[in-house]
Symmetry: none
Subunit: 220 residues, 2 copies
């Protein structure tokens, strides 16, 4: 796929800006398990996933991890260029969760474009707002906890009752069982799926890692 297709704002850029982006972008690959960004020591630049999957996570002083978000094909990550954002100060690790091919727009190139173009600055803004929203959501889950446990508990109980790991149930039905909203349940199930706990298809939820789903219940 053409490099330009990775930028939803491509057509709003002038020919010179397009040329700067195209000519500066680097093609890179990383083997599964490779760390491509190590907190504030690194300043990789804007990362755009071509194929494979990246995982952004936060690392505790004693080595615990929490997944902040995944980057799939065509996803763009601004936080790997935190060094070029004033006011952005935090440690983020990014690893290739599968063999991954990606573009890098070097930080100085992107910063120059941001400083000279409102279109690009607003695009950066949108990228950041999206990640910010994801992290806020995750933090709320972590703080208020109850819902992930309640959904995990519900799925395990249903599985036991029905004698199968493939539950024929809609998100709406789960929400109704728990007195929650369908959208909230869908979001949580997608999060579970990204963690490899369940697999969602139309009309079913399959438990793919009963052990770890059960672990959610114990965690205080």
């Amino acid at each position: 796929m053409e490099f330009s297709n990775y930028f939803p704002i491509w057509d709003k850029l002038d020919a010179q800006q397009q040329e700067v982006l195209r000519s500066s972008a680097l093609e890179r690959t990383a083997k599964k398990g490779t760390l491509i960004h190590r907190g504030s020591m690194d300043c990789l630049g804007l990362v755009i996933v071509v194929s494979g999957r990246l995982r952004a996570y936060s690392l505790s002083p004693d080595g615990k991890e929490v997944t902040l978000y995944r980057l799939l094909e065509r996803d763009t990550c601004l936080l790997s260029a935190a060094c070029m954002m004033s006011g952005m100060q935090f440690e983020l690790m990014i690893e290739a969760e599968r063999d991954t091919a990606f573009y890098i727009v070097p930080p100085d190139v992107f910063k120059n474009l941001m400083n000279s173009s409102a279109v690009i600055a607003n695009y950066a803004n949108e990228l950041m707002a999206t990640r910010f929203s994801e992290v806020m959501w995750l933090m709320e889950q972590i703080m208020w906890k109850s819902l992930d446990k309640r959904i995990a508990g519900f799925l395990l109980e249903e599985s036991l009752l029905e004698g199968t790991k493939i539950l024929k149930i809609t998100h709406e039905q789960i929400a109704n069982h728990l007195g929650s909203a369908r959208e909230v349940v869908t979001r949580m199930l997608k999060y579970f799926q990204s963690e490899g706990l369940v697999r969602i298809t139309r009309g079913t939820v399959e438990i793919t890692d009963e052990k770890r789903l059960g672990d959610l219940l114990d965690d205080e």
Copy 2:
């Protein structure tokens, strides 16, 4: 103080942009305890504190709170204008923690300026990056730090904000700030008291050994 002094980027704006900002800004006041922004139902705009103090917090489905950040004099909040940021989706409450005077730049005005000016778009970017960093820090505290450190840190910060070692605050309020339960906070404060770090009376917590309370923070 002149309105322009609240914008670190003022001198980089042209005369017309300055005029748009100055003429659209609204002066508002809110009594202590007033909610000035209620999640995504509201779109207040860019908020700039002139005097007093605002508190931004997140609210759980069952009414628990956690303080995300405070806005003091000259602080600017972009998240109260989340509606104008593509990709920004989260619920944020803002209340006046004291009697507060503030400016509001209406969301449509600020959005227009952002769309037409790289300087303003990058300023918005910086405001967002700063809050994002604070929230990430907070999430890390919640995830990786034990509650004793969080309570110690909170008491010391409050003491600094209020300019006194005798804090007029209930255990319930501390719990709300930290997204914890009152009983848990009470237990920890009693432990602190038995260690000679604080003295608890009805409605107050007095810091009696600032040094050792601070030492708790360093200990990994």
